[in-house]
Amino acid sequence: MKPFVAQSKAEILRLVRSPFFLLFSVLMPIAFYSIFAFLNGADAEIGGTTWGAYSLMSMTAFSLIGTAAGQFGIRLSYERKDGLIKLMKLTPLSTSAWIAAKITAHLLVHTLIIAVMFGYSAIVFDTELPGWRWLASGSWLIVGSIPFLALGILLGTIRNTDAATAVSNLVYMGLSILGGLWMPLSTFPNWMQKLGALLPSHAYASTSWSIVANGSAAWMDVLVLLGYGAVFLMTAVFVQSRRENA
């Protein structure tokens, strides 16, 4: 247990000390949130709630998709290339304990990101929600980030680090924009709305919108996201095991 705790701590340090973390997980989402909330008016109505709360959910989801899928995937790809994964296999720490420590570290850092984003929103835009809706939406954003960690593991199987970086950024930006996290899907042409509604990013954000607006989860979206997570994980395991047997 002690090595696991130490490993989780080390992985947290590695994650938050990365210059990409501050920029892509914190500063960029806060900047976009501020722009969207300011331009549309933080108190203006949207989807049964205010822009201040609606866009907060979108941009926190945007940050967490980038952290869980993008940064996690790119890091894993580099660790394979640099030989760190090989080196870890020589130590008594099992690979599964190492991956579990990485996931634990991510979930704790995701919690920190949510606290920072929610705190910023409450202070700067005076966003007001019942206490339990803050709690429920925050909890959902943490739980719902797990399928994106599975996507990160899948992206991390890409051998070429340049390709992994390019694909990860494309996937995370594409999912965020097409899933309606930047602009609501209703502003898109009809076919893009249909496409966007099928994406895991939309399912993720949509449940948090539903919680802040109605206080209830969008259960269909929860199932869709779970399904995606299972597919990502199974594909990653398949790719990995096929490689090991080659």
């Binding site: 080390a10 590695r14 000390r17 640099d82 030989g83 760190l84 090989k86 080196l87 296999k89 008594p92």
Partner: protein, 303 residues
Amino acid sequence: MGPIVFDHVVKKYGNREALKGLSVTFPSGQVTALLGPNGAGKTTAVSILLGLSKATKGTVNVGEYQAGDRILRQRMGAMLQESPVADGLQVREMLNLFRGYYREPLPLDHLLVISGLEQKANRRVSSLSGGEKRRLSFALAMAGNPDIIVLDEPTTGMDVESRMRFWEVIRVYAIQGKTILFTTHYLEEADTAADHIAVIADGRLVAEGTPQSLKAAMPLRKITFRISGELISEQQLLALPGVQEVRRADDLMELFSVDTDRLLPLLLQSGIQMTDIQIHAAKLEEVFHQLTRGSAESGGSIR
């Protein structure tokens, strides 16, 4: 812990055989060099020993345990050819993290001293130079105070001073009775640092023994002389009985042969005008060259 034993190990990558039935024993408590040209199978052998890949056929054992057994992870430390670091951490943090994996780790200060990184303890590992990362890899390999130390081309990338310090430290561990196995391209290192040398070429063992016994078992000698008169072609010299190789640098000729007693009179009778004739025992490098060249030419078998 017992010796490291490779028993008829075959490793295939697709159709290519990297190891073709390697059988070799690395004695416990000794420093052994695994010596061989590029592509001989050194790294493949090391990665099977470390449990990173599996032998297609044959077995590798460390004492009573099979290579890859989890128990061995507590007892073995290794430097791979790459020097990976956990970016984001300081030298001190990464060393302490690794120390935490083992039941009886070496003290942090000791690891900093053997790697010469005392002044860099608070530096981020990603900011270290290539040579410093190499030394950090050594400290990481030693973090668990292993009984068996496996080093794949350990000194590549180190400067001369670091290299000297490194072998001094290895000497100390050898005196403590640790089993040390290293691969190297540097024949000088194998000669001076190892108690025992195993030479492999083309996936097989071609020779083994102490540096002295290797030289004795392959009693290669060389006759050197300067040509004072008419120049003579290398082909003519190679035609003399027992000459294995000829090297020349301007008027200085080097003839390699296992039977210089027979060669010398023939050479004197040949009419070549020679000065400054000397006979030397060949250096280990030259013995090694003959061993691995012979193996490659005859398609792998030893002549």
